[in-house]
C-alpha cells in the first residue's frame, strides 16, 4: 500500500495527477475504510429526521449498521445496531418510533437510552455478568452542526467544528434560507447505486467543467423553457461567473453567480407563472432579515459543497443533501434527500421540490447522465495498468482566480485523501 504513489502533486512543474489504481484496487478500499472513513467526521443524518423521544432511523455509516435516534430525554443518540449478546441487529425497521430495541434472536431488550433492560433467564448467567456493562455501544464521538449530525470512530478526533473549518461558512449560507435558522429534510429518499468508485462522485458533485458536454440536454431544456443564458465571457466556459475554493481539511466548494434559477429566490421560466409572487415574498423576507447584501449572497449565488470525505450539499436548483459510501472498489451506494426551511409554506415547498427534479436525482434531467459518466469512467479504469494516471491540473499555475471549471477543489480533496492514506502510525 505505502510503496505506491497515489497522488503526484508538483506545483512548480504544474503537474497534478491521480493514480487510477486508487479507483480499482481492493486493498485501497480496505485502507481507506480504516484511514479515511474511520478517522473523519462522517454524516449520519439530519436532526429533523428524528423529532420525538424514541424516533429512530436505521442507517449504514462507515460500513456499520447504526440507529440514529432520540433517547428518552429527546437527546440525539447514535447506537451501533448490534446486540451485545451474539450480535444480531436489534432494530430492523428503516424508521419509526421505538419503545425499546428488541433482539428477537434470544430476546434481549434495550431501552431508548441504549441500556440493557431485559435478559430472559438472567439467573443462569454467572455472578460476573453485570447488565450495566451490556448497553448498546455508541461511537466515540457524535456531533451536530446547524442540524447536520456526524459521528467519528476515532477516539482522538478533533472537535467537529474544528474539523469542518471553512465548510462552516457555506453550511451557514445554506441554513440562512430559513427565517428560524432551521432546515429540515423533506420526506422521500432517493437511494440508488452507481457502478463506480465513490471518489468519482466526490469529483463529479462539484466539477463544473463537465456541465457543457455531460449536461447539454439539461442546458437545452433550460433554453427551450425560455431561460436566458449569456454567452460565456472570454476564457470562460459557463454562462455565469463562478470560482472554486479549498476550505481546509479536504473540504471544498464551488461558489457561483446563479443563472439556473433558485427556489430562494430567483424565478426562471422553467417555474410556473404562479411561482413568481411566492418567490418574491421569500426574497423580501431574506432582505428584511439579512440585509440586501447577505440576501443576495444567499439567493443569487449557488454552491456545491463537499464536506470531506463523502457529504455533498448542493445548493443549486434546490438543496440536496447527498452522501454515499463504497460497497466495492467499483460500486457505491448513494442516499440523497431534499432540504428546505422548516417554516416553508406549502406553495414554496412544492416549487422547491419541483425545481429539485429538473436537475437532481435518478429521474432528473441531469443526474442519470452523471451516473452514466461515472460508470463510463469506471469501465475505462480496467486499463489502469497501461494507462495509470488521471489528470487533475486545470488552473494550476494560473495568476488569475481559480474558476469553477478549474480544479483546485478537486485537488484539495485528493491532497487530503492522500495525506490520510499515507500518514504514518495508522496501520491499514
Amino acid at each position: 500500500m505505502t510503496d505506491r504513489t497515489y497522488v503526484v502533486n508538483e506545483p512548480d512543474a504544474q503537474n497534478f495527477k491521480v493514480n487510477r489504481a486508487s479507483l480499482v484496487d481492493p486493498d485501497v478500499l480496505e485502507a481507506e475504510q480504516r484511514r479515511v472513513f474511520d478517522r473523519c467526521w462522517i454524516y449520519v443524518g439530519h436532526e429533523s429526521e428524528v423529532r420525538a423521544p424514541g424516533d429512530f432511523r436505521t442507517r449504514n455509516v462507515c460500513g456499520r449498521p447504526v440507529i440514529f435516534c432520540r433517547d428518552s430525554k429527546n437527546a440525539l443518540r447514535v447506537f451501533l445496531n448490534t446486540c451485545r449478546h451474539r450480535g444480531a441487529i436489534v432494530c430492523r425497521e428503516p424508521e419509526g418510533n421505538a419503545k425499546s430495541y428488541f433482539c428477537f434472536y434470544h430476546g434481549w431488550t434495550y431501552n431508548r437510552d441504549g441500556a440493557l433492560d431485559g435478559v430472559p433467564g438472567e439467573s443462569a448467567y454467572p455472578a460476573s455478568f453485570d447488565k450495566c456493562e451490556y448497553g448498546l455501544v455508541e461511537p466515540p464521538h457524535v456531533g451536530s452542526y446547524r442540524g447536520f449530525v456526524f459521528l467519528n470512530f476515532d477516539e482522538d478526533a478533533v472537535p467537529l467544528e474544528q474539523y469542518l473549518a471553512g465548510a462552516k461558512d457555506y453550511i451557514d449560507l445554506i441554513v440562512d434560507q430559513s427565517p428560524s435558522g432551521q432546515m429540515e429534510i423533506i420526506q422521500g429518499t432517493q437511494e440508488y447505486d452507481i457502478k463506480a468508485n465513490w471518489k468519482l462522485l466526490v469529483e463529479n458533485s462539484f466539477d463544473d467543467y463537465h456541465l457543457l458536454t455531460t449536461h447539454s440536454t439539461w442546458l437545452d431544456y433550460m433554453r427551450n423553457s425560455g431561460v436566458q443564458m449569456k454567452r460565456p465571457e472570454r476564457g470562460h466556459l459557463l454562462p455565469s461567473h463562478g470560482v472554486a475554493k479549498a476550505l481546509g481539511n479536504g473540504h471544498a466548494v464551488t461558489d457561483n453567480q446563479n443563472f439556473r434559477g433558485r427556489p430562494v429566490a430567483k424565478w426562471i421560466p422553467v417555474y410556473p407563472e404562479s411561482a413568481k409572487p411566492v418567490i418574491e415574498k421569500i426574497r423580501a423576507e431574506l432582505v428584511a432579515r439579512l440585509g440586501e447584501e447577505r440576501a443576495q449572497r444567499v439567493a443569487d449565488t449557488n454552491r456545491n459543497l463537499l464536506v470531506f470525505p463523502n457529504l455533498c450539499l448542493n445548493d443549486g436548483s434546490s438543496v440536496t443533501v447527498r452522501t454515499f459510501y463504497p460497497v466495492a472498489p467499483g460500486h457505491m451506494r448513494v442516499r440523497a434527500w431534499a432540504l428546505g426551511p422548516k417554516e416553508e409554506t406549502p406553495e414554496a415547498r412544492a416549487i422547491r421540490l419541483d425545481a429539485f427534479l429538473t436537475f437532481y436525482g435518478p429521474g432528473g434531467f441531469a443526474t442519470p447522465d452523471d451516473v452514466e459518466a461515472l460508470e463510463s469512467v469506471q469501465a475505462g479504469m480496467a486499463t489502469y495498468r497501461e494507462v495509470p494516471w488521471s489528470l487533475v491540473s486545470r488552473g494550476m499555475g494560473k495568476n488569475e482566480e481559480q474558476l469553477n471549471t478549474d480544479e483546485p477543489h478537486l485537488r484539495a480533496f485528493w491532497i487530503q485523501w492522500n495525506k490520510l492514506m499515507t500518514a504514518a502510525g495508522h496501520g491499514a
Binding site: P94, I186, Q187, G188, T189, Q190, E191, Y192, D193, I194, K195, T213, T214, S216, T217, W218, D220, Y221, N224, S225, R333, W337, A338, P346, R349, A350, L353, D354, F356, L357, T358, G361, P362, G363, F365, T367, P368, D369, V371, E372, A373
Partner: protein, 162 residues
C-alpha cells in the same frame, strides 16, 4: 358515459402503449396523453405520497413530459444513448372505478431493461392510471409507476419512460 368500458378495451390500450414505449416511438406515445397529463414515479420509501410535499423520483407535468421526450430523443441524453432495450409485461389489469368522468385503472408491470455489457435490470411494480374516454379512444390524464423495490438500489436510475 353511455356505455361501460370493458377490461379488454383497457388491456388493448395498455398493451398498445407498452409496445410504443418498447419500440421508442415516443412521439406517438406522447399523443396518447391529455394536454394536462401527469407522469409520476414516487420515491421508493414513500410509495403513497404527494409530490407537493414529498421528494419523488419523477413528478412531471405535461411541459416536463414533453421536455423529457425531447431530451430522450437527443443522442446527448447519455444515460439512454444508445437507448436501452426494454420489454414490458403488463398483467392483473383492473378497472378500479368508472363512475366518474375519468376511468381509474391499475395494473402490475415488469419492465426488463437491457444495456450492453450490463446486468439485466428488472423494474417491478404497479401502474395507476386515470384515463379519459374521448372520441379518439382513451387518453392518459395521469400515469403513476409505483416501484415495489424498497430502494432503487441496483436499478440505478429511471432514465427511460417507465
Amino acid at each position: 358515459m353511455a356505455r361501460e368500458v370493458s377490461r379488454q378495451q383497457v388491456e388493448d390500450f395498455l398493451y398498445h402503449e407498452a409496445a410504443l414505449l418498447d419500440e421508442w416511438r415516443l412521439d406517438e406515445w406522447l399523443a396518447l396523453l391529455t394536454e394536462d397529463a401527469r407522469y409520476e414515479v414516487p420515491s421508493n420509501d414513500r410509495p403513497e405520497a404527494d409530490p407537493a410535499n414529498t421528494l419523488f423520483t419523477i413528478a412531471d407535468d405535461i411541459r416536463r413530459i414533453q421536455a423529457r421526450i425531447t431530451r430522450l430523443k437527443d443522442r446527448n441524453a447519455h444515460a439512454e444513448y444508445p437507448p436501452s432495450r426494454t420489454r414490458r409485461m403488463i398483467g392483473n389489469v383492473r378497472i378500479v372505478d368508472q363512475s366518474a368522468a375519468e376511468l381509474r385503472v391499475e395494473a402490475n408491470f415488469v419492465v426488463y431493461r437491457f444495456r450492453r455489457e450490463e446486468r439485466i435490470r428488472e423494474y417491478v411494480g404497479r401502474y395507476r392510471y386515470r384515463l379519459r374516454v374521448t372520441d379518439g379512444g382513451f387518453k392518459i390524464a395521469k400515469r403513476e409507476a409505483i416501484l415495489d423495490a424498497l430502494e432503487l438500489g441496483s436499478l440505478g436510475s429511471v432514465s427511460f419512460i417507465l
